[in-house]
């Protein structure tokens, strides 16, 4: 496997939303009726038909400088993906070629366990199909040696796609060049994401960004501890019962001594 990473560099993103459109086009996703609620950002959030969303944020720093921050939200494709861990059916899976997280809709049973487990709040459930939807890094493209549709559409180079080691180096170099508060985001979490950011500003100032995301403790407890424990406990009981039967024996009624038997036989 050659792990691959999609890199988003917000210092190069002009929020033209070519990516958001390309995503809809390649994945044949329907549009929803929206309205302007006082922002360019639409739809308001990710949904079953929107796997990729450009966030728009006005920001005024302490010196009074105005900034307009853009951020691309989509599945982060964790190396330690809580969604894959919790998925009961194997619909969510690691792509063996790239390490990204694919989603096989034929297998999805709409249990929504991933919806709750994802530390980035990415998967969205759709009532009509009773299935969950998210970016699968365009598996249909990347498995055919094409870049994801969003990367293909990006005019400025804000999005790029390539082998993990190379992209990490590019990201580190870019952070160094940008200086200031610039940093990478994603690589430090969940054993490294396959979609990562170079952020020009301090990540803390980006609205709705997940600070210090990790595989939720609940998921670890559940899948790491309780899941094996359930079999262990049941097995223990069976074993215990067997031992009990063998050693102590069952509790037979004291038939011969029964003085209260009425009517006999």
């Amino acid at each position: 496997m050659t792990e691959k990473i999609k890199l988003y560099d917000d210092s190069k993103c002009t929020a033209c939303r070519g990516c958001q459109l390309a995503c809809k086009q390649w994945n044949a996703l329907a549009a929803s009726q929206t309205e302007n609620r006082g922002t360019y950002q639409n739809p308001p959030s990710l949904n079953a038909n929107t796997f990729l969303l450009i966030h728009y944020q006005d920001y005024v720093d302490k010196e009074g400088n105005v900034k307009w921050l853009f951020r691309k939200e989509a599945c982060m494709h964790c190396t330690d993906a809580a969604c894959v861990t919790v998925c009961p059916s194997g619909a969510l899976h690691y792509n063996k070629a790239t390490g990204t997280v694919g989603l096989d809709h034929d297998k999805c049973i709409g249990c929504k366990e991933c919806v709750a487990a994802c530390p980035f709040e990415i998967p969205r459930w759709d009532a009509a199909t009773d299935k969950v939807y998210k970016c699968d890094m365009c598996e249909s493209r990347i498995m055919n040696n094409m870049e994801p549709a969003c990367v293909k559409a990006c005019p400025t180079g804000a999005l790029s796609w390539g082998p993990k080691e190379k992209m990490l180096k590019i990201a580190a170099k870019r952070v160094e060049k940008l200086g200031g508060n610039a940093t990478t985001y994603g690589d430090k979490y969940v054993k490294g994401t396959h979609f990562m950011y170079v952020l020009k500003e301090n990540p803390a100032i980006y609205a709705d960004i997940h600070k210090d995301p990790s595989v939720p403790l609940s998921v670890t407890l559940w899948k790491g501890l309780l899941k094996p424990l359930s079999l262990l406990a049941a097995g223990g009981v069976l074993g215990g019962a067997f031992l009990h039967y063998m050693i102590h024996g069952p509790k037979y009624p004291d038939l011969p001594k029964d003085e209260n038997t009425e009517g006999g036989k």
Binding site: W222, L225, L238, A241, K251, Y252, G263
Partner: protein, 224 residues
């Protein structure tokens, strides 16, 4: 049916018991099918994992309804410990683990059975609440919802283990007890061994229904 057998359960009790038991078993099986990808094959029995999930969800509703009725029905008999008798029984572990000359007499249900009942009630309620939230997870914040899963799993750990305990004690561990939940009639001898206190009480109150004899008093009063 042999003459002299004593009626220990009526049909209502038995139906409820089995509704609870079967739904619980079904939930365990279907739950396992979703919990372990190795058990995904269970889904084939239901026409796919998706229908398995539906079966699980709706069986959950049957389980919930059964549990509520069961609690209403058995709470007095199995939901409260009676002291000091129950304590005495617990002290000797009901004679299940080591030899005891005389097992302390308890009511219709011994503390072991009560413990089982309460576990089922507690874990069952946990499963129902967490399960319902898991069914509609988008209604609550993800941070809260995500804790429902380990809790559901925790309930499963308990229920699944207790299921096997119950299976053992209700069958080969205590020979002669199975009919209680099949026909409702039990050999007086078995009863004497397992539930001497209750037998005495019933006899004393004249409520004992014995096969082939006229009923001495009114109907069984659980659901009166």
């Amino acid at each position: 049916m042999q003459k002299g057998y004593v009626q220990v359960t009526d049909s209502y009790e038995r139906i409820l018991h089995w509704m609870l038991a079967i739904s619980c078993l079904l939930l365990c099986v279907t739950g396992l099918g979703m919990m372990f990808q190795t058990f995904n094959f269970i889904g084939y029995l239901f026409g796919g994992l998706k229908s398995l999930k539906l079966v699980h969800n709706f069986t959950g509703l049957v389980f919930a309804a059964s549990l509520i009725l069961v609690i209403r029905m058995w709470w007095k008999e199995a939901g409260v410990f009676v002291f000091p008798e129950d304590l005495e029984w617990i002290k000797v572990a009901g004679g299940y683990l080591w030899h005891v000359d005389k097992v302390p007499e308890t009511g219709k249900y011994n503390p072991g059975q009560k413990l089982f009942f309460l576990t089922v009630v507690g874990a069952g309620i946990l499963m129902i609440i967490t399960g319902l939230i898991m069914w509609f997870p988008t209604a609550l914040p993800a941070g809260l919802v995500r804790w429902m899963y380990p809790l559901h799993a925790l309930g499963f750990v308990a229920i699944f283990a207790f299921f096997f305990i119950h299976l053992y004690l209700g069958t080969i561990g205590n020979p002669g007890t199975v009919p209680a939940m099949l026909t409702g009639w039990m050999d007086r001898a078995v009863l004497k061994k397992q539930h001497p206190g209750w037998l005495k009480e019933m006899e004393h109150e004249g409520k004992l229904v014995v096969y082939g004899e006229e009923k001495k008093s009114g109907a069984h009063g659980h659901h009166a």
